[in-house]
């Protein structure tokens, strides 16, 4: 049967067909739909993990039980999960153990464009790179058997254009895998130094076997074409290269760590000129170049390798960028027109808006975090100073305070979402209490993991599949971390919000404000749109400071106006208007 699937859907389908038993993962663009789709298969235990480290460890535990296990995450998620990954690389597996990393070249929705193939190299585990949805399905299946065959976790590495592109996929049926059961084996499963020293020897032997396997691995393949140009490539870069250089010979690699050095040198020696086409870093290029250096008489080939000397290392690769790098892109006959940018904005009625309006008004230093609310940095709210990583708001505020003294704590607020707080904000908050901070943390509790497309979290009372779950309430959680000064507010009430922030920053203890209001896209309790009474509006533009997409300023009339298509009637602007011009009453035209 054929289906039209995204790479993420295909990975989920492939894992299901391979008989995966346990899946645990934290959402993160561009990986999220893998978990969402696995959650639809009833045969699998699938859960939303609290963070990526938790997800990888739960999957590792399932592998100990002889179950086939998978975890998936965005590239930066693997930084969080790196600690258990490196241990599991030594321990190996019992049931097949697959770690999916979805990288984000071009940073469509991320803070960096790190190349996670290096994790495979550093952890000394195999790396598989599919180049379309069909290969996503096939390699997700294959990754489990590879994992079991070589006693290793397998890194399945996707990128945004693999995860979020759709293609036609031939799907199969599920082959059940019954967990083989837990057997105590402390030499294998306890990483004390005495054991780990032996494990490392095995890891090195395993790498050699994998490199040999790669030489005859069917997904590492040569496509013979014109001998003048040979292209070594992998993943989505293969597809771009096929379009830009249709006549060339190709070495398409799928197992990109460890590399098949014999296959590579034979290919290089079979063509005149050689390009290495890859997105992100010089992962293939530097390993291939190393084969060409003469060390004690050994040199696999003698030829110049052209890669990142021409292809940009910064930003996403695409057919246009690739063609331009080699002077093959014709300039467009159309002249670009000057346009205002259209960045994403907080939705109309978003409860975060009230908090950021108040923070901007009070001119505080705001350490921010990862979520929709990072948009609080945008004009006109302009209410964020730093963003490091998941959970980094709480601890960055702590560092500012400890560097500059308690006076800084009176001018600083950390802002973090509910899901991000569960993910990695709690440990930072414990640090603040333990080390006598006087700082303030605002938890934006919108009862959902919004930015990645509305997933449940430990505070929502629902599991991945929407089943009932215990609600981990924020207030008692925060209290049990030792925080005594807690305020719960409605962020749509601007006066209450501002007063709560003022009280918190001036209190010489750790203060937490829980700004509680559900994401408007969840409850969708929209009220009728408001209208601006033009007789009352004096054109003061105060309402524009909210940065609401529904409000704009009519320059000819010198009045604010509300677009009824966008307004959801949250009334925050009405509460702000000094002339009470916003309302639902009779509007005099």
């Amino acid at each position: 049967m054929k289906m039209f699937l995204s790479g993420n859907e295909a990975v989920a389908r492939g894992a299901w067909e391979a008989g995966v038993n346990v899946v645990s993962a934290y959402p993160g663009t561009p990986s999220t739909e893998i978990l969402e789709n696995l959650g639809k298969y009833k045969e699998i235990y699938a859960e939303l993990a609290t963070n990526e480290k938790v997800g990888l460890e739960v999957a590792a535990g399932a592998s100990f039980a002889g179950a086939r296990a998978l975890t998936c995450m965005k590239h930066v998620g693997l930084n969080v999960a790196a600690d258990p990954l490196f241990s599991m690389a030594y321990i190996g597996v019992k049931g097949g153990f697959v770690v999916v990393s979805a990288d984000d070249p071009g940073m469509h929705s991320s803070q960096n464009e790190q190349d996670n193939r290096y994790y495979a190299k550093m952890a000394k585990i195999p790396c598989l790179e599919p180049s379309d949805s069909q290969e996503c399905l096939e390699m997700a299946k294959l990754a489990f058997s590879l994992s079991e065959k070589f006693d290793t976790p397998v890194l399945l590495r996707l990128t945004t254009r693999i995860s979020h592109s759709k293609g036609v996929v031939e799907v199969g049926e599920r082959k059940e895998h019954k967990p083989t059961g837990y057997v105590k084996d402390i030499v294998k499963n306890i990483t004390i130094p005495a054991h780990a020293r032996k494990m490392h020897v095995k890891v090195e032997e395993r790498l050699k076997k994998l490199a040999d396997y790669g030489e005859s691995f069917s997904y590492n393949r040569v496509e013979k074409g014109d001998k003048k140009l040979g292209i070594i490539t992998s993943g989505i870069s293969y597809q771009y290269s096929k379009d830009v250089f249709p006549e060339a010979s190709f070495l398409k690699l799928a197992l990109t760590f460890p590399l098949p050095s014999k296959m590579i040198s034979e290919f290089i020696n079979s063509v005149d000129e050689i390009y290495v086409v890859e997105e992100n870093d010089t992962f293939l290029e530097e390993q291939i170049k190393a084969l060409g250096y003469k060390v004690s008489g050994n040199c696999a080939y003698e030829k110049e390798i052209i890669g990142k000397s021409k292809i940009p290392i910064v930003g996403e690769l695409d057919p246009t960028v690739l063609a331009r790098a080699f002077g093959l892109q014709k300039e467009s006959p159309y002249k670009p027109l000057e346009l205002p940018a259209r960045p994403p904005v907080l939705c109309p009625g978003c409860p975060h808006r009230g908090v950021f309006y108040a923070l901007n008004k009070l001119k505080l230093t705001v350490t921010g975090d990862i979520g929709c609310y990072t948009l609080g940095m945008m004009e006109p709210l302009n209410a964020m100073d730093t963003v490091i990583c998941m959970g980094g708001s709480v601890t960055a505020a702590m560092g500012l305070e400890k560097a500059l003294g308690p006076e800084m704590a009176k001018k600083t607020v950390a802002v973090i979402g509910d899901s991000t707080f569960f993910h990695s904000g709690i440990t930072g908050l414990v640090d603040m209490v333990y080390n006598n901070s006087q700082g303030t943390v605002i938890i934006l509790d919108n009862r959902i993991t919004a930015m990645t497309g509305h997933q449940e979290n430990p505070g929502t009372g629902k599991t991945l599949r929407g089943h009932e779950a215990p609600i981990i309430e924020l207030e008692p959680l925060v209290r049990s971390c030792g925080v005594e000064h807690i305020q719960i507010i409605d962020p749509l009430d601007l006066k209450q919000t501002e007063a709560a922030i003022k009280e918190a920053i001036n209190n010489p203890v750790v203060s937490v404000i829980i700004a509680k209001s559900p994401c408007i896209l969840i409850e969708k309790k929209f009220k009728p749109a408001l209208k601006v009474d033009e007789n009352k509006c004096v054109g003061c533009k105060i309402c524009l400071k909210l940065g609401c997409p529904a409000i704009s300023f009519d320059k000819s009339k010198k009045k604010s106006q509300i677009d009824p298509m966008f307004c959801i009637g949250c009334e925050v602007c009405a509460s702000l208007c000094p002339k009470q011009a916003m309302g639902r009453g009779e509007v005099v035209a």
């Binding site: 945004t160 592109s165 989505i236 467009s332 940018a341 904005v345 004009e379 533009k541 704009s552």
Partner: protein
Amino acid sequence: MDTVNILICGVGGQGVLLAGDIIAETAIASGFDAKKSEVHGMAQRGGSVVSHVRFGQKVNSPLIRQGEADVILSFEEMETARYLQFLKADGCLIINRQQIIPMSVATGQAEYPVDIVEKIKQQVKNVVLCPGMELAEKAGSAKAVNTVLLGALAKKLELAPDKWQGIISQRVPAKTVEMNKKAFESGYDQQ
């Protein structure tokens, strides 16, 4: 047949991504290979949205190369101009007559470009202007703008209208199938 490239652009929330799905699925139902690419996540929140759809005998890259789009189907006037570099020299533009004001314009920091459609027409010969909202309302619901635009697109492509209608019927709520049929036809017939 050469690969057909269609770039769809607009603003988050307008239904750009669904339209891309329907085009690709119609092509597959007509016996072609197809790929489609778009971006999810933060980029969706009211920001500029673009979807690439390609179909033919065999499609490699899911992304269209600049200068190779046969059609740009634009849900919003100004967004058309943002992606003009993708259009082929003799390519066709289908522009929905709608302007959505970005935040920088709403707050008075920037201006919505004046006469943007006229400026585009000075550069591109083959332009279809589609009053999507007006036709959708006539068909029964303002929400059917993207179905109207798909009708306008279908006129430019060699995929059979009944294939389009079949896929659209599968993808819209059951109660709205008849209304969407009308919306598709009004887009198809308006040129």
